[in-house]
Amino acid sequence: MLRIACPWCGARDETEFGYGGEAHVALPADAAQLSDAAWAEYLFMRSNPKGRHRERWVHTHGCRRWFNVVRDTTTERIFAVYLAGSPPAQLPDEPA
């Protein structure tokens, strides 16, 4: 069971959180202008990587805040936790 460090409340069990999928998939500003294909890309297509994943979580049964997590999808190791709305967290060993 994951232990996730809510940026506000600190480390809590996975059961208190909700998972929100891939992070940094922003709502296109001009949705109405997009082609069907581009809209489908936003709506459905996900990178679903094997390895490091930037993803959204919400502390449902705690402070109710959304935040982002960098987790390795092969080991479940969590590398970083950062606030919603901030740019993708860069890890020291990653090319920018």
Binding site: L2, A32, L43, T60, T75
Partner: protein, 993 residues
């Protein structure tokens, strides 16, 4: 007489406390401190089970968790439990156990015919036969199923109590043998919060039955002093009888604690599941002994040598009177020496090694024990109990038969690396130990003692001290000062040559078991390899080796070694099959804990629940909520009650408990802008004091939830949601607000629980309410809201109605809900008021053509499909908007909401009935698919219309209004006419029918 195999003295049993028990109907006695296995052996009972596949007689083989044979059915009736290892059952007075998987009796089992036919039943035989004729498989299968399985499931609900407990610690130590104890001690002395868990009743591990001295005293004295110190330490928790079963991610460890005998007391749980979050873990899980592979190596009376020694030293039981010891290392000699000291005759020590020159072999020889080296067992005799072994030098030569009633085999030791591996730790093959040992760890975990193939006691102690200290340090604690390692005297022992364990007689036609539990033989391994199932994971699945109750604790090591041989590769290159939780089986009840019975899932009740109950309401489940469905009067059916309730609303006044509706308070300068984006209909234009029906879409354009938007003030809104949608919608709003539009100053607060809400509906509602209200409700326009008092209670009054027609909804703080309800019921007596339930509410709203999200919608229905396109505004952005422009959302032949009238006005179609173009029935399964045009979403008998009405989603339904379709039923077909989805008009006039 009684307990013929009990020694006169010794062992960790209380000879003053005699316990009576029964096995297979026979009465026996044992002592407090016994296990069922030790007590049976004390009574000279070896035959305890029949094997899984061949139903071969089997005896007790091991001392603890690794036991593959002696599984029994413990207790009876509701308390019965199948497949329990006799080696792990603490004896108690009155215990009743039975053998399993035999018919009619353990001694005479017809299933043993399988053994006779075994040439036809090699590994995987079932894949090759029973294919013809195809229709017969179910029959074959029935017979196979009856032969398979072991014990029996109880027929009654588990009567016991269970719970789960969370725990947090700095250092969790698993195993209270010498390594675990020293680890716990050094961690505790550093001030760490320590949990020490061991599955046994007592701490000590192998020291419980090995004869070592520590600091010049018997080792158990050291154990006692350590336990005393740990027990006194404030931050140490000792969990005895606690099996650590699973090691999951982020150092989350699950353990199951047993409290007492199967009949637990009324207060205490029978078992407790611990859920431990440890910063650091030390695994000191020890090792189990390896069996030898030789022909007919499974006869009762053939045991592990360590186990034989354990039964002697821990329980004062001699498992035989004339013993052959077969060993591949010096350890077997310990058993010989201990038995000899207890006066048991040693027929011979059979050492498979060519040379046996160590200290222990010398001692054995010095005691006059015959030692045969370079020999192996080529056959065994005896049916229900071993009676002799035949031995022969590896090099060939004469076969000698040695009579015996016990064979103690010592094949070396297998480190218990299960938990380490579950923790994603990598395993490494240790050639010296001939076994897999912990390699690189992937979580904060350390190992100590024989789990690392450190076979010597002083090594175990030293590793434990080091691991415990390092773990505490990793938690940021100072290492304990002045930790002195205790002094140990132990004879040196040369390591076992484990490769010999499976390198006995290959030519024999007799069965040589590698996995006793799954009845897998050496020949099976060979066959699988030949057929190409020669990777360990394929071999496991093809032969089922390692898939039994013991998960191959003993057998897997030999399976892997034999497979390596078959492939001509070095041991260790084959790998191991995956270790998975649990380390040992854990009862389902323990995992469920208190989440059983009424606590399985919370029930939510409204503030008025008790009133409904007292007034005979029949409840229905809506998510976790209990909602009053209808209120039958004496003798009334569902139908009659609902008809009456509906008419009360249409003609007089009725009252519905609407408290379960979700409610969300929205405040802030940008609240209107926010909701404008959330709802597909306009919100900004809503005037304060007014309400509007609103639809929310998902991003894919499909209806997600609906409800009323009330604008309480310029910057203050109250939304209602569906009962089931309350939490979903609140989360949805927060998500958008926080992640997409944090710049919008808006605060959302779920207030479902704060308000009790009552819908007062019907033409008399105004007369009923007006005198009780502090505001002039007659002056309230349709779809408006006011704040005031109702019956002296601070309230919000909404003029709106889901039932259609005149109606109000009153919301008061939940703690006044009951009072409001009873007051209104009292005041309503004059008007013959009737409480109405959800069923009547459904009929009433269907008459008006109002949808229910989840009934008219299923996640694939857009507002356009529902005919609500007039609500959808194109001149603004809202969630789901773009998706409504996709080609599929614009298709003319999408399913659209319509009304249905059956030809016969008394025919009420079942909801879920499908609609087709040409008449047909469901009686026979159609050969060719019949195209479906839609289906019935809601269907009722409408008292207002005096006939049945229905709503349906139908392909291009709006264009078909006026046309006829067919509703196929089981044996007949009903003609239906499509209408607009509304049956009763604004002034309650009937529109069709």
């Amino acid at each position: 007489m009684s307990q013929p195999k009990r020694t006169d003295a010794g062992g960790r049993i209380d000879r003053l406390r005699v316990l009576r028990f029964q096995f297979d109907g026979r009465r026996y006695q044992g002592y407090c401190g016994d296990t069922l296995a030790s007590a049976l052996l004390a009574n000279d009972v070896h035959l305890t089970a029949r094997s899984f596949k061949y139903h071969r007689p089997r005896g007790i083989l091991a001392l603890g968790a690794e036991e593959p044979n002696a599984l029994v059915q413990l207790e009876q009736g509701a308390y019965t439990e199948p497949n329990v290892r006799a080696t792990q059952i603490e004896l108690y007075d009155g215990l009743i156990a039975h053998s399993q998987n035999r018919w009619p009796a353990l001694g005479f089992d017809l299933g043993a015919l399988n053994d006779t036919f075994s040439p036809l039943l090699p590994a995987g035989f079932y894949y090759k036969t029973f294919m013809w004729p195809a229709s017969m498989w179910l029959r074959y299968e029935k017979a196979i199923r009856r032969m398979a399985g072991l014990g029996r499931a109880p027929c009654l609900p588990d009567p016991d109590r269970y719970d789960r407990m969370h725990a947090h610690c700095d250092v969790l130590v698993v195993g209270a043998g010498p390594a675990g104890l020293s680890a716990a001690l050094s961690a505790a002395r550093s001030g760490a919060r320590v949990i020490l868990a061991d599955e046994q009743t007592e701490a000590g591990g192998q020291l419980l039955w090995e004869r070592y001295d520590i600091d010049g005293h018997p080792a158990m004295a050291w154990v006692a002093s350590v336990m005393a110190e740990l027990a006194a330490a404030p931050e140490v928790r000792i969990l005895a009888r606690t099996l650590v079963s699973g090691y999951y991610d982020h150092n989350f460890v699950v353990a199951c604690q047993r409290f007492d005998s199967p009949r637990s007391s009324a207060h205490a749980p029978r078992q407790r599941l611990w859920k431990i979050r440890a910063r650091e873990v030390v695994l000191a899980t020890g090792a189990v002994e390896r069996a030898l592979v030789f022909p007919d190596n499974d006869r009762p009376g053939i045991m592990l040598a360590g186990a034989v020694r354990g039964y002697l030293n821990r329980f004062g039981v001699t498992a035989g009177s004339r013993v052959v010891i077969a060993t591949v290392g010096d350890d077997g000699y310990r058993t010989a020496l201990d038995l000899a000291s207890a006066g048991v005759a040693i027929a011979a020590v059979l050492d498979l090694r060519v040379r046996a020159a160590g200290f222990l072999p010398q001692q054995a020889r010095a005691r006059g024990i015959e030692v045969l080296t370079g020999q192996r067992i080529v056959a065994t005799g005896g049916r229900m109990r071993v009676s002799a072994v035949r031995v022969q030098p590896f090099a060939g030569g004469t076969i000698r038969e040695i009579a015996c009633d016990l064979v103690a085999m010592s094949g070396g030791w297998i480190p218990t690396v299960h938990l380490f591996s579950q923790a994603r730790g990598r395993l490494r093959f240790d050639a010296r130990a001939g076994a897999f040992v912990p390699g690189e760890a992937m979580q904060p975990v350390r190992c100590a003692g024989s789990v690392q193939a450190a076979w010597l006691l002083h090594e175990a102690l030293a590793q434990g001290f080091a691991a415990g200290g390092a773990a505490a340090q990793a938690c940021g604690l100072e290492p304990a000062r002045a930790l002195e390692l205790p002094q140990v005297s132990e004879p040196e022992a040369t390591a076992a040559d484990v490769a010999l364990a499976h390198r006995g007689e290959r030519a024999s036609r007799r069965k040589q078991f590698v996995d006793f539990q799954a009845d897998v033989t050496l020949a099976d391994v060979g066959l699988a390899a030949r057929e190409g199932y020669d990777a360990i994971e394929h071999l496991k699945r093809y032969t089922t080796a390692g898939m039994g109750v013991d998960q191959g604790k003993m057998g897997n090591a030999n399976v892997v070694a034999l497979l390596a041989d078959a492939r001509g590769e070095a041991a260790g290159t084959i790998g191991m099959s995956t270790f998975r939780p649990p380390y040992q089986p854990v009862s389902f009840s323990a995992i469920a804990g208190m989440d059983a019975g009424e606590l399985f899932d919370p029930v939510r009740r409204t503030p008025m629940h008790e009133w409904h109950r007292r007034h005979g309401a029949v409840f229905e489940d809506a998510g976790q909520w209990k909602r009053a469905c209808y209120y039958p009067r004496a003798g009334e059916t569902l139908h009659a009650s609902v008809q009456r309730e509906c008419l009360a609303v249409r003609r007089g006044v009725g009252m519905l408990d609407a408290s379960t509706l979700g409610k969300i308070d929205i405040q802030g300068p940008d609240a209107a802008e926010f909701l404008e984006r959330i709802y597909c209909n306009p919100v900004r234009s809503l005037a304060p004091g007014r309400c509007r029906y609103g639809l929310m879409l998902k991003q894919d354009g499909m209806v997600f939830d609906d409800g009323v938007i009330a604008r309480l003030a310029e910057t203050h809104f109250l939304l209602t949601t569906t009962t089931g949608g309350a939490a979903r919608v609140a989360a949805w709003l927060e998500e958008w607000l926080q992640t997409e539009w944090p710049m919008l100053k808006t605060y959302c607060t779920p207030v479902t629980e704060q308000y009790a809400q009552v819908a007062v509906s019907g033409p008399h509602s105004v007369e009923l309410l007006a005198p009780l209200c502090s505001v002039d409700i007659r002056a309230m326009p349709f779809m408006s809201v006011r704040t005031g008092y109702v019956a002296g209670i601070g309230a919000r009054i909404f003029r709106l109605s889901f039932a259609g027609g005149l109606g109000y909804e009153i919301a008061v703080p939940a703690d006044r809900g009951y009072e409001l309800w009873t007051t209104l019921m009292g005041a309503g007596e004059r008007f013959d008021i009737a409480p109405y339930g959800t069923e009547a509410m459904h009929v009433l709203r269907a008459e008006k053509g109002f949808i229910i999200v989840g009934q008219e919608t299923d996640g694939t229905v857009s507002p356009i499909d529902l005919g609500l396109d007039r609500l959808v505004r194109s001149d603004k952005f809202f969630i789901g908007q773009r998706s409504l422009a996709r080609p599929d959302a614009r298709r003319a032949d999408r399913r659209q909401l319509v009304g249905l009238l059956t030809e016969n006005p008394h025919e009420v179609l079942a909801e879920g009935t499908q609609l087709v173009a040409a008449p047909c029935t469901l009686a026979r399964v159609a050969a060719e698919p019949v195209p479906m045009l839609g289906y019935v979403t809601s269907s009722y008998f409408s008292p207002s219309c005096g006939r049945s009405i229905a709503l349906a989603l139908v392909e291009a339904g709006v264009a078909r209004i006026g046309q006829t379709l067919h509703a196929p039923l089981a044996t007949r077909c009903v003609k239906v006419t499509l209408t607009a989805p509304r049956f009763v008009g604004d002034s309650d006039e009937v529109l069709h029918g």
